[in-house]
């Protein structure tokens, strides 16, 4: 259910936003090991599990456990609804940044944008997917 600013509250949280953007970099049909995701985001296992559970409950990510013992692997991937939800989130985010730029105001408290990184008139595009620039040997 969208929040009052239209941003999906499941995604609109710092850690979960990082998780879905990171997973969106993967190509369709790929998954990432829990350990590598944890390492990339610099989170504790418990913290990551908590946020993954929320995303999984919403149907945005899929986690699969395979193997056992030392070969045990938990893989995480962004589901199709999750990718769609992120695309929608990015569209709303872009609109909010554009309207903020047009009005010369911050659309939502708190915190100013870092002008070195984000220009309200040039919001970030959708996450570039791995399939768009997969290198070849």
């Amino acid at each position: 259910m969208p929040a009052e600013n239209g941003l999906d509250p499941i995604i609109h949280a710092p850690v979960r936003l990082r998780v879905v953007v990171t997973l969106a970099t993967l190509r369709d049909g790929d998954d990432l090991s829990f350990t590598r995701l944890q390492e990339l985001l610099g989170l504790t296992p418990g913290n990551l599990i908590t946020h993954l559970r929320k995303l999984e409950d919403a149907g945005y990510v899929t986690t699969v456990k395979s193997g056992s013992g030392v070969n045990a692997r938990t893989s995480v991937s962004l589901s199709r609804p999750g990718r769609q939800a992120l695309d929608n989130y990015m569209s709303v985010l872009r609109q909010l940044l554009d309207s903020a730029s047009a009005n010369g105001t911050s659309p939502h408290q708190p915190g100013p944008a870092n002008p070195d990184r984000i220009s309200p008139g040039q919001p970030p595009g959708p996450p570039v997917r791995r399939s768009d620039d997969e290198a070849v040997f």
Binding site: L26, A113, S131, E134, A135
Partner: protein, 207 residues
């Protein structure tokens, strides 16, 4: 960061940019580095072979030193590409892993067939035909492999590079041995380096 935090849209946009840049750096194979590695093999290696044969009359073949240079450069390129790919692919499983295996198997089988064909025809064909098979054959194979890879991964720059390499490799059928080496070095190696520059700009633009 266990609990949800309130964040502004600007902060959200900054997180998206940061997470995307980090994920791309860590999880995506650096195409410009891969193209540059192979471009240097073709440009420097084949360039060295061409320099060793350009004054030959009649043509007797590249010097042993220049052939060794090609193998040394290729070994460095293979090692660099494997390290780059291994780092980026760590922890990733699924379709792209299967595609990579198909591409590697195609290239390896193709190269083996090329070596066998060269061995089979070496005593019964002209020097020019042998030079075409030996020098332009790997370029044709690389071009076809890139076309296959682009079909599997929907990669437009790789598709353009593959098509160009096939055209360059095929055009070598009309050239003398020394010209084949020069063409492969300049048009082949140059294309790899050009694509590396284009990829770098595309990535900078996407940030």
């Amino acid at each position: 960061m266990l609990e949800d935090q309130d964040m502004s849209v600007q902060e959200a946009a900054a997180i998206v940019q940061d997470a995307r840049a980090r994920a791309r750096k860590e999880l995506v194979i650096s195409a410009p580095l891969v193209y540059t590695a192979w471009g240097l093999v073709w440009l420097l290696g084949y360039g060295a072979m061409w320099l060793s044969v350009r004054a030959q009359n009649p043509y007797t073949g590249p010097s042993g030193v220049s052939i060794a240079a090609v193998f040394v450069l290729a070994a460095f390129a293979v090692a660099a590409v494997l390290v780059i790919a291994h780092r980026a692919a760590a922890g990733i499983d699924g379709q792209s892993v299967r595609h990579r295996r198909i591409i590697l198997a195609t290239w390896a089988i193709g190269y083996l067939i090329l070596l066998l064909v060269q061995a089979a025809i070496s005593s019964s064909v002209s020097t020019r035909t042998l030079a075409f098979a030996g020098f332009a054959g790997p370029l044709l194979l690389a071009g076809l492999t890139y076309i296959l890879a682009s079909a599997l991964g929907r990669n437009r720059p790789a598709s353009a590079l593959g098509a160009w390499l096939v055209i360059v490799g095929a055009s070598c059928a009309w050239l003398a041995p020394a010209a084949i080496l020069a063409t492969c070095a300049l048009a082949g190696g140059g294309a790899f380096l050009l694509i590396a520059v284009i990829e770098t700009r595309l990535r900078a633009h996407a940030r």
